[in-house]
């Protein structure tokens, strides 16, 4: 049962053949890990692009169009997450967690940003996860038979975002909210900044409540979060202060649309 036994003639090959099986095991693990890293990278890139796209809502007339387009992009991302879920079938999810956590966090950031734009509220972890349940019936370009074999009997394939990844994604979301706030102010949109201020304060208070009881990565992001909040509060403040100067009768005109601000002919009714 032992290797390297000098009494056996094939002793040398015992150790070497053991290491050959180790090699196989290590390689297959590494390969899976690498595949997951690649998927994670793709997810990160696509999520970042979605966020970029979503920032356009502050400058285009048709918000719904942007939301529809972002939904299509996020669908593509979810197909990638499905591939992760397939890789993890039967595995201990945490064994490969480090491989895909950056992508998942970025997805949470993107999907929660979209959710905020649509609903002005924070998407819950349950809502995030509910979009990551994949039916067996619709595998993209795969042979139904093979997929069926892999699937749990009668069950759907699903991916569970961990609370920590959710938290980290939401922490990054606050940076995007800050950027959106600054853009909104620039574009003369006065409602969004105040909504963002309120919302960001709630998230900030939530993180303050968790404090340093969460994992280290969360605490690390608290500083940036606080800076984002300060920028948004400053922006709201600036809007209020400047708004105080508007003659009452002009108010409607000034804020009726972005065009009003830019078109000098309409500026004074």
């Amino acid at each position: 049962a032992r290797m390297g036994d000098p009494s056996s003639d094939a002793g040398s090959s015992a150790v070497l053949s053991a290491f050959k099986t180790f090699q196989l095991e290590l390689d297959s693990k590494h390969d899976k890990y690498e595949r997951l890293v690649k998927l994670s990278r793709d997810i990160t890139i696509e999520s970042k692009r979605t966020i970029f796209l979503l920032h356009r809502v502050t400058s285009v007339p048709n918000v719904e169009e942007v939301l529809v387009e972002s939904e299509a992009k996020l669908d593509a991302v979810r197909l990638k997450i499905r591939l992760i879920a397939e890789e993890l079938r039967g595995e201990d999810l945490f064994q490969f967690h480090r491989a895909f956590t950056p992508g998942i966090q970025e997805y949470v950031e993107a999907v929660s940003f979209q959710h905020f734009i649509r609903n002005r509220s924070l998407i819950t972890l349950e809502e995030v996860n509910s979009r990551l349940v994949f039916c067996r019936e619709e595998p993209p370009n795969t042979k139904d038979a093979a997929a069926g074999q892999q699937g749990a009997p009668g069950g759907a394939l699903s991916f569970q975002v961990s609370p920590t990844d959710y938290l980290l994604g939401v922490a990054d979301l606050t940076g995007e909210l800050m950027r959106m706030c600054i853009s909104s102010v620039g574009n003369g949109d006065v409602d969004t900044p105040f909504q963002l201020g309120q919302f960001l304060r709630e998230i900030h208070d939530g993180f303050a409540y968790i404090g340093n009881t969460g994992p280290y990565e969360v605490s690390k992001k608290l500083h940036t979060l606080r800076q984002s909040l300060a920028k948004v509060e400053d922006a709201c403040y600036a809007l209020r202060v400047r708004g105080s100067e508007i003659p009452r009768h002009m108010l409607a005109d000034v804020f009726c649309s972005r065009a009003a601000v830019l078109d000098p002919d309409d500026a004074v009714a």
Partner: protein, 227 residues
């Protein structure tokens, strides 16, 4: 070739490299000096009095760009043409500065965004890496972003000088720039950080426009038309 000869050869190579870096540093230093002079010329547009003779300031700056071209011409002779990236860090910073200055001059002259080809021409360098000493995209973009920040300051000072229409023109220019940058997929690199600063410039300019519009100052005082 004996081992000794070979190592003597090698020592020659190593010394040459150090000499090159020393030479480059010297040229870069005088280039920075010239860049500061151009800046001083252009800074005066922020002064109330400065608004009157922007064209003459631009002419003066254009003259100084001759010196810039000479220095850069000198710089090119200091290292083998195909080792641009080996020494890039040495001139990167100053190249972004002069790009900013070129972009600022062009804006003041024509209120348009200078294209990379034109910056290259002003600096006497190339756009295509293959053709010689060139202007890297990242450096061009960095220079443009420095200008954006200068324009937000210009918008504020225009109002002080009583020019209420310039901020509106700056505003639409900067907005266009911002849209352009949004198309880029920037990594978390120095450029991204600079770009994040652009949003504050946009915001500042919009606040000026806002201040003007609630006071009805956005109309052209004389003729009511666009400039």
């Amino acid at each position: 070739m004996s081992v000794t000869d070979m190592f003597s050869n090698i020592q020659g190579f190593l010394s040459a490299d150090q000499d090159i870096r020393e030479d480059i540093r010297k040229v870069v230093q005088v280039l920075e000096q010239t860049a500061r002079e151009i800046l001083t010329v252009l800074q005066s547009v922020h002064q109330p009095s400065g608004f009157k003779d922007i064209p003459s300031k631009c002419r003066r700056a254009r003259e100084l760009f001759c010196t810039v071209r000479n220095h850069i011409g000198d710089l090119k002779t200091k290292f083998p043409a195909d080792q641009y990236y080996r020494f890039h860090e040495h001139w990167r910073f100053v190249l972004q500065r002069v790009t900013f200055l070129a972009a600022f001059v062009v804006y003041l002259e024509s209120e348009t965004l200078v294209i990379r080809e034109e910056v290259a021409k002003i600096l006497g360098i190339e756009v295509d890496r293959e053709k010689g000493f060139h202007l890297d995209i990242e450096d061009y973009l960095a220079g443009v972003l420095i200008m954006a920040s200068e324009l937000s300051r210009l918008a504020v000072n225009s109002v002080t000088s009583g020019d209420y229409s310039r901020p509106l023109r700056i505003s639409s220019f900067i907005n266009e720039l911002d849209s352009g940058f949004r198309l880029l997929n920037l990594k978390n690199d120095p450029l991204r950080k600079r770009y994040d600063g652009l949003k504050y410039d946009v915001k500042k300019i919009e606040e000026v426009v806002y201040d003007l519009s609630i006071r009805g100052l956005t109309k052209d005082p004389e003729t009511g038309g666009d400039k």
